[in-house]
Subunit: 327 residues, 2 copies
């Protein structure tokens, strides 16, 4: 089969491409061809033996979407997007990439005109939810995003559901929780500290904790995120029914529990590299975010995340630090 | 003040324009100017003494939206749209008019560039909801539309909320229940019988009832719909908060209760003009529709509908039949 990944140069896109290359198949079907698309040229996965094409293109240009679809990929992982912070700062870019890009892709599928009906796996986000929240967000909670990013993701979910209902594609939207531990350098995202307080101390560096330790949040590892995407690709439309957009499960815990995991796994000296420096702006942003996601339907459909934050820390050490850390 | 109505040639648009003309003011401010826009030239309300401009234009043409906004209306009632049945049959037209038209209007406001920040009252629909439903749909129920029309309305709600959150306009979206009794000829809408079984017998004609009498639905009169729109125009952003899209109240009753109202008000001979002829297709469509809408927030914010179906029947006789009916 032919698999397309948009946003293939991003953190999850790279891990997904590597995993597909390593597995060589998707739900029992051999992957013969991989098309990797991003705004910058994505890297080719090392282990893949099939045909790989890398494309640097902007999907919000309708002709580009049509060109990508011309090769009729069987499964599309649509990860491309402008992140939360950028979509908030650059109104036009956010709508162009996140909304118009998604719509252009779906329109290219609709207008293919030869009965083409691919599987489309769309990454949404828990940013589709907006405070105030109940203690635990149920599957049928309404979408009242408080960011342009969340708005664009929610609109993409609605489009995907309508195109799927009309039989134009087999869509599934998965709302990712916060993905930790993100490898690499700290970024400017308000959620960055959730990764930073684990990643930096393990690298021998100081990390700043800008919020109180009582803050509750739902997390999953990059490995779990890739697992969600692959599992989603195997769910049939019959199993999904009309409600194709699903909140993913995760580990729900406090920041104090995150730190306790780090201490258990790496020791007190590592955990002591976290410096408390409250930042009222970040604290206020984080207050508006979902805390606990129920994700009952996703769990019932077989999506699995880690069962403890310890596991998430171990995956980071294993996958991104080659098994070691700075004690 | 200057008021713009899009979709001004439609049933509710005409009644709203007449009401504004009659009142001569909106929440205490005199209405000096009325711009009535539709795809066909709307009629000028008879009683209005101010400046009236009628425009036949397609808002989904961005230049058109810009031209309309150039006059800086203070309040926009955005009623224009392709109805449910047509949006389902004509995919491209539905998205162009209902989604792109709404977006073009909001973009024209955003890019006005002189601090222009009008009140925007957007008519949404309970079609944003999709079965299965709880016995009563709460305010925080998720939006899983089962039609392209419902999808487009839900996307419009999300856009309006984001533009409002960013301070580009003061938006409010109101989800109308089924509006009965629609005056005029029967139309092809699957919901047409809810009006038909009252309107036709009162006119001395036979009406077909295609669903079982036990079907439960939520209704409001055209007069109530105009009342919702006018009330919405007076609610401040502070009172509304971030969740600006509201399900409107209505009279929730069975078809049997509708018929009992007709019998009470117009007599057995009139009620006997309803012929039962079940239509499995319509029955199936109606099964997918919301039955009971809680509308707690809207009620708390002062939106009022009729308190009984009797009232709805009487409003039709009064407003559309000059007080009489064919006994």
């Amino acid at each position: 089969m032919h698999v397309l990944i948009t946003g293939a140069a991003g953190m999850i896109g790279r891990k997904l491409a590597d995993r597909l290359a390593q597995d060589g198949s998707l739900h029992g079907k051999p992957v013969e061809r991989l098309t990797l698309l991003d705004i910058v040229p994505p890297a080719k996965p090392a282990q893949f033996t099939g045909l790989v094409e890398t494309i640097a293109a902007d999907l919000s240009q309708p002709a580009e979407a049509g060109r990508v679809i011309a090769a009729r990929p069987d499964a599309l992982f649509h990860l491309a997007g402008v992140v939360s912070g950028e979509a908030e700062l650059d109104f036009e870019k956010g709508y162009r990439v996140n909304l118009d890009g998604t719509r252009a892709l779906l329109e290219a599928i609709r207008t293919a005109g030869d009965g083409y009906k691919p599987k489309v796996i769309y990454t949404s986000s828990i940013a589709v939810f907006g405070a105030p929240f109940p203690p635990s967000i149920p599957d049928d909670f309404h979408l009242t995003p408080l960011t342009s990013y969340g708005t664009q993701k929610a609109m993409g979910e609605l489009l995907l559901a309508d195109y799927s209902r009309r039989g134009l594609c087999d869509g599934i939207g998965i709302r990712l929780p916060t993905i930790v531990v993100r490898p690499g350098k700290p970024n400017a995202a308000a959620s960055g500290f959730f990764s930073g307080i684990i990643r930096e101390p393990l690298a021998g560096l100081e990390a700043i904790l800008p919020v109180p330790e009582g803050v509750v949040h739902t997390h999953a590892s990059p490995r779990a995120a890739v697992g969600f995407l692959l599992h989603a690709a195997g769910l049939s439309p019959e199993v999904l029914g009309a409600r194709i957009n699903l909140s993913m499960p995760g580990v729900c815990c406090t920041v104090a529990e995150q730190i306790a995991s780090l201490r258990r796994i790496a020791g007190e000296r590592v955990a002591a590299r976290i410096r408390r420096a409250s930042d009222p702006l970040i604290a206020r942003i984080v207050e508006g975010w979902p805390q606990r996601i129920e994700a009952r339907r996703a769990r019932a459909l077989g999506f699995t995340a880690e069962s403890s934050f310890d596991e998430i820390v171990r995956i980071h050490i294993d996958e991104d630090r080659a098994g070691s850390f700075v004690a």
